[in-house]
């Protein structure tokens, strides 16, 4: 893909008003602008437009005219199978301090905003642009390791920088997704898990111990029970009495349950339980009724207005009555009255259905039934005593009773050790393990702490996985970068060799910086050549031929070193645009021995432009171009493509 800069236009800005149409067949272009003309402004306008990066736009304001608005237009031609033109128009509003950018392509009408085509969008960033738009007198950074300019450039064009950006965005996303998850170590949770596990062992030991004791008494208990169950020293009559007594106890238990159910139901109405509550509520309802409340406040006032005497005791005059009726409109609405009425009705119904006496009767009934039960139980125990006191197996019976008590105690202990209904998840959450008494509680606490550990370790496991992925990107980037360094070094050396007469001049290596072989640093000419070849190699590798825009390409170079640079640009660049001052022409554009003649290789397909200011306070050329040789004449600037004028142009103010 090839990109050419084909048009620039500025108006009412710090640089002179200019308009240049670059010819497509002119691979090399020289723009001669005296110092102080606004060259830097023009270059920055190109740079900022291509990356759509604008800081304080006041740097572009024409301080002489203080124009409120300015305009810059830049047009590119993108040759990527099909030809596309893209125009960026920037309108500067110096009053608000804002720029407004508009984009037009040959397929779309002008749209607000920066909308370069997708195929070049990723290359239009500040980092990319500084590779093909640079200043020849400020190349030191490329040769200083600590600046890492070469590395940064390769990272930008190869996609390594973008991979780091992916890493950062994934980290941010990961943190957002893991928000609320536990971070940090699991030591304290592990400690609690350990204590809980120890407690679990204690409880299990307790269970085993109880179970062991139970198991040890069960054979004897069973044996004794069998003896008692198969005893033949009890009369039928006694057995019948005992069975009847048990039935009576069973019946009376049923009565107790029924009575308790009645009391539970009655307890729902508090007025049945307490006469104090019911009398208070009744008194409150009576007061409401006496005051005709809630009714509505409005009707209350309306009623007062109809009385012969006012509430204050005075006579109710027509005038007073009328005022009360008028003011009543501002008082209670029907909704408020509705709520109070609901409360009133509910309480009235509760009072009506309540019966404290019945409640007391049921309590008394329960007491009586329980007394009856106690009597029955006593009768039963007496019968058992009578049955057993003269029995031939009295000792066995006694032993069985003791064992049965022990068995019950052990069974209860086992039941309690297995499950304590109070030890729910919420209760054991922060409970000291030593105070948890059941296997159920310990298991709940262990579930909680293990869930937390799992959650935390899950986070750490996820983080480990993300870090591994990041490491893969890092390793791939480092390996790729080292290989690209070598390939770019070869490419740069091929370019140098094809364009430079000094065959000993080579790049030794490229890593953080460019290293010229056998030298701590190169001469000015070598540095310009090396950086230009480096930029071209990087661009070539990216598959996009951008125009090389170079400010002061040969300022630091002696005249003798300059031809190699212009020849190289002519040979290697699809399009180069060099911003020069008069003093850079000798050797670079014109022959050293014949300053009025261009190099032979620059006689064809070269764009020649001279831009100078026409403001009153600026020195003018002694021999200005004729009108027909002026390509563009703005309010404060001239653009001419006159070759002779270009060659002879010189202003004494230049330095």
């Amino acid at each position: 893909m090839k990109i050419n800069l084909i048009h620039i236009k500025s108006k009412n800005l710090r640089c002179p008003d200019v308009e240049i149409n670059f010819q497509k067949n002119n691979k090399t272009n020289f723009i001669q602008m005296p110092n102080g003309t606004g060259k830097t402004t023009l270059i920055n306008l190109i740079k900022n437009t291509l990356s759509n990066s604008w800081g304080n736009i006041n740097e572009f304001k024409n301080k002489k005219t203080n124009a409120a608005e300015g305009l810059f237009v830049l047009k590119l031609e993108v040759d990527d199978d099909t030809l596309d033109d893209i125009t960026f128009r920037i309108k500067f509003d110096f009053i608000s301090g804002k720029e407004h950018i508009f984009t037009t392509t040959n397929q779309t009408s002008e749209k607000t905003g920066f909308h370069p085509p997708k195929n070049i969008r990723s290359f239009l960033t500040q980092d990319h642009i500084k590779t093909f738009l640079f200043s020849g007198d400020a190349l030191d950074d490329y040769f200083i390791d600590s600046e890492q300019t070469a590395k940064k450039t390769i990272d930008t064009f190869s996609g390594i920088t973008k991979l780091y950006q992916l890493t950062k965005e994934l980290e941010i996303q990961f943190r957002a997704m893991m928000r609320g998850k536990i971070q940090g170590g699991t030591e304290s949770l592990r400690k609690r898990e350990d204590l809980l596990e120890r407690r679990e062992v204690q409880i299990k030991d307790g269970l085993d111990s109880c179970q062991g004791k139970l198991d040890s008494i069960l054979p004897e208990w069973s044996r004794l029970k069998n003896i008692i169950d198969s005893r033949d020293d009890v009369t039928e009559d006694m057995n019948l009495k005992i069975d009847n007594k048990l039935e009576e106890i069973d019946d009376i238990n049923k009565k107790i349950y029924a009575n308790e159910a009645i009391l539970a139901e009655m307890s729902k109405n508090l007025y049945s339980i307490s006469t104090a509550w019911s009398s208070q509520s009744k008194s409150f309802l009576d007061n409401l009724a006496a005051a005709k409340l809630p009714g509505t406040s409005r009707s209350f006032f309306n009623d007062i207005a109809k009385q012969e005497k006012c509430i204050c005791g005075d006579e109710m005059t027509k005038e007073k009555s009328s005022i009360i009726i008028d003011n009543a409109k501002d008082y209670l609405g029907d909704d408020d009255a509705g709520i109070v009425n609901t409360i009133k009705t509910t309480n009235e119904e509760a009072l009506l259905s309540s019966s404290h006496d019945e409640y007391l009767n049921e309590i008394e009934n329960l007491k009586t039934i329980k007394k009856d039960k106690d009597t029955l139980v006593q009768d039963y125990n007496d019968l058992i005593f009578d049955r057993d006191q003269n029995s031939s197996i009295q000792q066995e019976i006694e032993k069985f009773r003791n064992l049965n008590i022990k068995k019950s105690e052990l069974e209860k202990a086992i039941k309690d050790l297995r499950k304590n209904d109070d030890e729910t998840l919420a209760i054991v959450k922060n409970k000291d393990p030593i105070n948890i008494s059941s296997d159920f509680g310990i298991k709940n606490a262990l579930t909680l702490v293990r869930d937390k550990i799992a959650e935390k370790e899950g986070y750490e496991e996820y983080l480990k996985k993300l870090n591994k992925f990041k490491e893969i990107l890092e390793v791939s980037s480092v390996n790729a970068r080292n290989q690209i360094f070598k390939e770019i070094t070869n490419s740069v050396n091929e370019k140098i060799s094809s364009s430079h007469q000094d065959k000993s001049f080579r790049i030794e290596s490229i890593n953080d910086s460019l290293k010229i072989e056998n030298q701590g640093g190169g001469s000015g000419g070598q540095e310009v050549t090396a950086v230009t070849c480096f930029a071209l190699s990087v661009l070539e590798r990216s598959g996009i031929a951008f125009p090389m825009v170079i400010d002061h390409p040969v300022t630091p170079l002696q005249n003798a070193a300059r031809p190699a640079i212009s020849e190289m640009l002519k040979d290697l660049c699809e399009q180069s645009i060099c911003f020069i001052i008069d003093a850079e022409k000798p050797g670079f554009v014109t022959k050293i021995s014949e300053p009025n003649n261009f190099h032979d290789y620059l006689n064809d397909n070269v764009g020649i432009y001279t831009i100078y200011r026409t403001d009153d306070d600026v020195q003018q050329p002694l021999n200005p171009p004729s009108e027909e040789n002026i390509s563009y004449k703005g309010s404060n600037g001239i653009v001419t493509e006159d070759k002779e004028f270009f060659t002879n142009f010189s202003l004494s103010q230049e330095n």
């Binding site: 991979l163 957002a176 997704m177 496991e461 996985k465 790729a480």
Partner: protein
């Protein structure tokens, strides 16, 4: 993205993940290069990374 970088990335992913997972992750990276990904799309990449099992822990 430079061809060498793609090659190295593919090699490393293939070493550390199953072939299908490596291809999936490479597709995510390519998508990131071609498009401006929103939060949901980035979340999908993160989910895939944390769900995928690495075959080479070292």
């Amino acid at each position: 993205m430079d061809e060498i970088l793609i090659r190295e990335l593919e090699k490393e992913l293939m070493t550390n993940y199953s072939e299908s997972d490596a291809k999936q992750l490479l597709a995510h990276v390519n998508n990131f290069f071609k498009n401006q990904l929103d939060k949901d799309e980035l979340a999908l990449i993160v989910s895939d990374i944390i769900e995928m099992e690495r075959i080479n822990e070292n």
